[in-house]
Symmetry: C2
């Protein structure tokens, strides 16, 4: 069972408020989707994630395929039961991890992103640990170096066994700064693979196609038109975002203008707080983000008056809550002083409290935008 109902469209932007209906419940959109990479939101129980106001999570097909393996999860009755998450779930296709692990390791893409090396990645450049052909991708497990082959059919099979409500087509995610020739070849491959994924879909899971095209307008538009013409239940927007909010906003607009208006759109792997209004304004209904959880584990609290580095000495005697305007369990019960102490004393409970607060804060942030859209005020 999968339905998307649009309740209200913004007049001033591409934003819309809607309902995403799945067999495991209905979620209101726009919504942030926290990332439960290995089947858990790091440092939290499922109960705590729910209490923080999250209603949908995304898990990582690549990681779960390697460990514990989809066989274990299928035999447990699927991912929902396995991880005690009785609400909607997504799984990504595994493509992003395969490519990012390969390119990050062998071609130093992380250095290119950071600006330490200035160059593009050319069409014939391939990381050593990754062999990409039209058939699929051969790569090595980051856990034990074992050779693994993934292709569209295999990705859909794994995702079927995992059993999420929404799954994604297997795409090639080209490295950021890939040149036009590289991206063109890659987009064409992603398009061929999209059709294979549709062939192996099943009626129990919604399947989202993925639009690629990097930072090139013509390729993005072409990809959105092609993927948008296929009978997917929704659409993911992946790949390079452009490096700035305005570039991302433009890129998203190229794509959403071409996609079917009545189907849901998911923005893959983004969600810095300051980008969220732009993501929603450009017409994304959901987006997955590691920001609240990742920053929480590393001592950053998001608040209505900006970020706090909670380990900072000035917080050790600060009796206020993290955010006076926040109504989360953490802000009601704990002080900056205590959480600062926990971080300085390297107590895991500190990471937990910040993760809970950050999730709640991001969820509220998105909820406020949602309410504004509904009232025609966004």
């Amino acid at each position: 069972m999968f339905e998307f109902e649009i309740l209200k469209k913004s007049k001033k932007s591409r934003a819309r408020a809607g309902l995403l209906k799945t067999a495991h419940g209905v979620i209101e959109t726009p919504a942030m989707v926290p990332v439960a990479t290995q089947g858990a939101i790091k440092t939290l129980t499922a109960e705590q994630v729910k209490a923080a106001g999250s209603h949908i999570l995304i898990c990582n097909t690549y990681h779960l395929h390697l460990r514990p393996g989809e066989k274990v999860i299928k035999s447990a009755g699927g991912l929902h039961k396995f991880m005690n998450w009785r609400a909607p779930l997504m799984t990504d296709s595994g493509g992003f991890q395969v490519f990012s692990l390969g390119f990050g390791k062998d071609l130093g893409v992380s250095k290119i992103i950071k600006g330490e090396i200035k160059r593009s990645i050319g069409r014939n450049e391939q990381p050593k640990s990754l062999v990409i052909t039209d058939k699929g991708v051969t790569f090595r497990s980051h856990l034990d170096g074992k050779k693994i082959f993934l292709d569209p059919k295999e990705s859909i099979r794994i995702q079927r066994d995992l059993g999420a409500d929404i799954i994604f087509a297997f795409d090639e995610c080209p490295p950021p700064h890939a040149d036009r020739y590289y991206v063109r070849e890659s987009v064409e491959r992603t398009h061929r693979w999209a059709k294979v994924c549709l062939k192996y879909r099943n009626s129990k899971q919604a399947l989202y196609g993925i639009v690629q095209g990097g930072r090139f307008k013509d390729l993005r538009v072409e990809s959105a038109r092609f993927i948008g013409s296929l009978p997917f239940d929704g659409f993911g927007i992946g790949g390079e975002l452009g490096g700035s909010v305005s570039a991302m906003k433009k890129m998203l607009a190229w794509v959403t203008d071409e996609l079917p208006k009545d189907k849901p759109r998911h923005m893959l792997g983004t969600g810095h707080l300051q980008d969220i209004p732009a993501i929603i304004a450009a017409g994304a209904d959901t987006f997955d983000s590691v920001v609240p959880t990742h920053f929480g584990r590393h001592g950053t609290a998001f608040t209505s008056s900006g970020r706090l580095n909670i380990s900072n000495a000035k917080f050790i005697s600060d009796k206020d809550s993290l955010d006076k305007k926040c109504g989360c369990d953490v802000c009601v019960n704990y002080s900056r002083s205590y959480i600062s102490h926990l971080f300085r004393a390297r107590e895991i409970t500190g990471m937990q409290l910040l993760t809970m607060h950050n999730l709640y804060f991001f969820n509220k942030f998105v909820e406020n935008i949602r309410e504004k859209i509904k009232k025609g005020k966004f």
Copy 2:
């Protein structure tokens, strides 16, 4: 406000069931007191600790004195408010940590305990990083090497600022395997210090005196008589336990037979599951234990059919709960398979789930004994 009411005494043993009444609530005894060393049960929030059935915690004066310092905690409104624990709290005197850190480091006591070195610690042996005189102890912080002086007056002052319901007198905890001459001198010092602690007591906190005397019957009896004759609100039993359950049982009996019958007794720093019935049978009303939390973080689950090493490969596809007979949130909602996966994938959530379960399991274990005592069946 502090009262101890004995509801029922066992006829076959020294065990009793009672109520410990403090300004922050009443707890039923016998009770296990989990250890929140730095003001948090590791990996859990206060809400999760309560949900696991714990009603009283003990914090560590030495650790909290060093970080964040009692000044911060006092200004936060005391330890209860600081750590969001609105139920009874204990703090130890700091003595144990001072001595164990010094002896462990400089005299290799840990090797003596493990049997790697066979010898006693003599009267004139002192660790380099620790100077013990009749006045008090000078030692170095394990965090930054700063010199710190602690004496009975200072320990009571720090504990007053921390603000727990039950505090302990500052004692000297001699190293295990200390010889008779060493222990005799040390016991006498502890007795002198006990009187100083009473001088600085306050009416808001219950003060427990500590019985020492190592493995020597005459010294234990002497210490119990002396400390028992002083107007403490309750009594701690500290120091060497004898190395076996039967030795510990004997030692405890020497002591509890000498202590006032109407006052509560706390067994310091013990609580392996198999020892708990003996501890209670010997007449301890409370005891603090790191066992459920420490083992939980390291992957051991306690169950009605024995211990599980949850990382073991056989659990990865085991769909049962940790313990079929357990009604805790973890056993109701999560499988061995999932928790095993979390440990293998190094997810903190796994440590959290095992800690919750183990606390619940130990609390239930003690509760069962308590109910048996009440029914005259222990």
